[in-house]
């Protein structure tokens, strides 16, 4: 995924942990994104987002004033109010259920990352840019938890190791290009693997971005319930 788009991606950052906020702003700025505004509590962030209309908002789940779910609620509210705006939620909890609740019906423009992912600069910025452009980003750790063997015994057993890795990357929201780069294989190889995966899991083939992620995530949620 390249960041050399026509216009730089505009971001708002909501994070009450000052050190972390500085880190996020720095990492995104170094990668060429423009942080147009930042806030330390949920209501302030919402105001700024509505005013500045960024491409994507990066927000901590637990923010003042109530520290419970304020960040998440703000994120969900913003998604409803400005459907074209992307939201990346940062959290310390690697609970798949929680992530899936955020993503709900609409996978596009939604991301759920563990806070420590900020230190994986490349992956973090790629994810933020992806979400800004309407894609999705689900933290690899969470995807890994979702995909543990005994939850989907037969099906996953049919996949080769490479196909398994491609499936995981699809769930994380990566595009074919991104997967190719991450796994160090060709685009054509990725496409071949994707087709095989959908056939083996008995899913209707979805080629485009968010519908594909949605299909994969739905597959995992129905397997879990």
């Amino acid at each position: 995924m390249d960041s050399s788009v026509a216009q730089p991606v505009r971001v708002c950052v909501g994070e009450d942990d000052v050190l972390l906020r500085k880190g996020v702003v720095q990492v995104l700025g170094d990668a060429g994104l423009v942080v147009v505004a930042q806030a330390g509590d949920a209501s302030e962030l919402v105001k700024l987002a509505l005013a500045y209309r960024p491409d994507v908002v990066v927000i901590d789940i637990a923010m003042p004033p109530h520290r419970g779910d304020d960040g998440l609620l703000a994120a969900i509210g913003l998604r409803k109010q400005i459907p074209g705006m992307g939201v990346v939620v940062l959290t310390q909890y690697d609970e798949p259920d929680y992530a899936l609740a955020l993503i709900d019906e609409r996978v596009e423009g939604a991301g759920y990352l563990l806070k420590e992912r900020v230190g994986d600069v490349r992956e973090f910025t790629d994810a933020v840019v992806r979400v800004a452009h309407g894609g999705s980003a689900l933290d690899p750790t969470i995807v890994a938890r979702m995909m543990r063997p005994h939850h989907v015994p037969q099906a996953l057993g049919l996949l080769t190791e490479r196909e398994y890795a491609v499936l995981k990357a699809m769930a994380e929201g990566m595009s074919n290009v991104g997967i190719a780069r991450a796994l160090l294989i060709s685009n054509a190889a990725v496409e071949k693997h994707v087709t095989a995966i959908f056939r083996k899991l008995d899913l209707a083939p979805e080629t485009t971005g968010h519908r594909r992620v949605q299909a994969v995530l739905r597959y995992f949620t129905t397997q879990r319930s």
């Binding site: 310390q92 609970e95 798949p96 259920d97 806070k115 420590e116 230190g119």
Partner: protein, 495 residues
């Protein structure tokens, strides 16, 4: 011996035998006294005979009669100088030839009595009452006193026996009744059950109407009837009431109303029943206080968990996240291989520490439980399990205390099953019934052996569940595996 004399002796003997037969049988008291009156009447050539009992200081009660005008049960207070008073104080037969000359003339005239003869009946400690015969016309024959007196000995023996037997019967019944009520109290039966048992037992023993009331200042009468037994008595009756205390203050009372037959119910007898009621109330209160105290302890522990989880989230976890991010940035910035190596090491340790800390926090109080409720918590728990689990969930959001208890119940049961049962599959269900009862079931077809006495996990659970007025059942055998069932009511006045 004269014919008449002989006939009288034969009659007497026959009467004796009749009465003796009745005494030997287990007929009720009234029958015996009525029989005595009937036999005496036969001896007096069909004249009416009435037995009257004295009740100090100056009351006379009709105990039985044959052909007499006064119905049994009627009571009256007699004035000084009256026939009953003379009999009671002199202890000899007394004759009234014309009641117009007597102070109690007004008492007897409504019954059409003109004249009477009465003989005293002695029991151990005094005069029990009198046996009398009356006439609506003129005075009674001169030998009436003699003939009645002769019979009076018999009556005395019968009454004494009757009363003794009646006392014995009642004592035995009373003891049996007290014992069965005491058993109810000891097994901590519900208060309504105890209340009904007490009133019914007392009503049976004393053949009376028994009413148990509880004080309630908010009600118009100041009290409410909580239990009632026996049939209401009409007309003349005795009442005895004993107060029931709780915590040194008034709680209510036990009231016994019985008809005016022989015998009386002593207050101390009723007090025995009342004491049992008081004991049951005290026990129930004590139990409830104990349950509430346990609930408070558990709520405090849960609050400590919440605080711990929050503190770790805001404190140690956050610090670790910073460390990890910093190390990642340092790794990217490190140009020298050796430095990159060390930083990479440190990063690995920090990431592992972070993972472990997250697992610990999830064990203390999982985020999915606090945020998403019991269903989310159980789903998250099942996701962690190393064997597949079939899940049935039919629950809305519930009060937090209940969700915490339910979650840890399922968690402990699932952990035990995974660790000990050897089963390849588990089944977990959580269902809220329409009546507001949450039922949790964790079952496997493993090797059994689940025992609440082994290890404190299940015992701690039982404490939690009982503190919320729930029940925990463990069925475990090598043949059928293990099934743990917890039923907990949803409390309306929950936190």
């Amino acid at each position: 011996m004269e014919d008449r004399e002989l006939r009288r002796l034969v009659h007497e003997e026959q009467s004796l035998r009749n009465v003796a037969t009745l005494l030997a049988a287990s007929g009720p008291t009234d029958d015996i006294l009525t029989t005595i009156c009937r036999e005496a009447s036969a001896l007096l050539d069909g004249q009416e005979v009435t037995l009257l009992r004295f009740e100090p200081p100056n009351t006379v009660i009709c105990a039985a009669t044959h052909g007499g005008p006064i119905p049994p049960g009627v009571r009256a207070n007699y004035p000084p100088g009256s026939l009953p008073e003379r009999v009671g104080t002199t202890g000899v037969p007394v004759r009234a030839d014309d009641f117009d000359d007597w102070p109690d003339g007004e008492l007897v005239r409504p019954y059409g009595i003109r004249a009477a003869v009465a003989v005293p009946i002695f029991v151990e400690n005094g005069v029990w009452g009198m046996c009398s015969t009356s006439s609506p016309t003129g005075p009674l024959p001169p030998d009436t006193e003699d003939r009645l007196s002769a019979f009076a000995q018999l009556i005395w023996a019968a009454v004494a026996h009757t009363e003794a037997r009646e006392s014995l019967r009642r004592l035995a019944e009373e003891q049996a009744a007290l014992r069965s009520v005491a058993e109810l109290v000891a097994v901590e039966a519900s208060l309504p059950d105890v209340f009904h048992a007490v009133t019914e037992a007392a009503a049976r023993v004393y053949d009376a109407e028994v009413v148990l009331t509880e004080d309630d200042r908010d009600l118009p009468g100041g009290s409410r009837v909580v239990a009632r037994a026996g049939h209401p008595t009409e007309s003349a009756s005795h009442v005895a009431r004993v107060a029931i205390l709780f915590d040194d203050g008034p709680w209510g009372s036990l009231e016994v109303t019985w008809p005016a037959a022989i015998g009386t119910v002593e207050r101390h007898q009723i007090k025995a029943f009342a004491d049992l009621v008081a004991a049951a109330i005290a026990n129930a209160n004590h139990r409830e206080r104990l349950t509430q105290s346990r609930a408070r302890v558990i709520a405090a522990a849960d609050e400590a968990r919440r605080r711990l989880q929050r503190d770790v989230h805001d404190g140690a976890q956050q610090r670790l996240v910073h460390t990890i991010i910093t190390l990642k940035l340092a790794r990217d910035a490190a140009s020298a291989d050796e430095l990159a190596g060390f930083v990479g090491e440190a990063l690995k340790h920090a990431e592992e520490a972070n993972r472990q800390l997250r697992d610990v926090v999830r064990g203390i109080l999982p985020a999915s439980l606090t945020r998403g409720g019991l269903a989310a918590g159980i789903r998250s728990l099942i996701a962690e399990a190393s064997i597949p689990v079939d899940l049935v969930l039919s629950i809305p959001r519930l009060p937090p205390g209940l969700e915490t208890t339910a979650y840890f119940t399922v968690a402990e049961a699932v952990t035990n099953a995974v660790k000990h049962s050897g089963a390849s599959r588990l089944r977990v269900s959580a269902i809220l019934s329409e009546g507001g009862i949450l039922t949790l079931i964790v079952e496997d077809h493993g090797t059994g052996g689940a025992d609440i006495s082994k290890g404190s996990g299940l015992l701690g659970l039982a404490d939690r569940i009982e503190a919320r007025h729930g029940t925990l059942t463990i069925e475990s055998s090598p043949d059928h595996g293990t099934r743990i069932t917890a039923t907990i009511p949803v409390d309306s006045d929950d936190e």
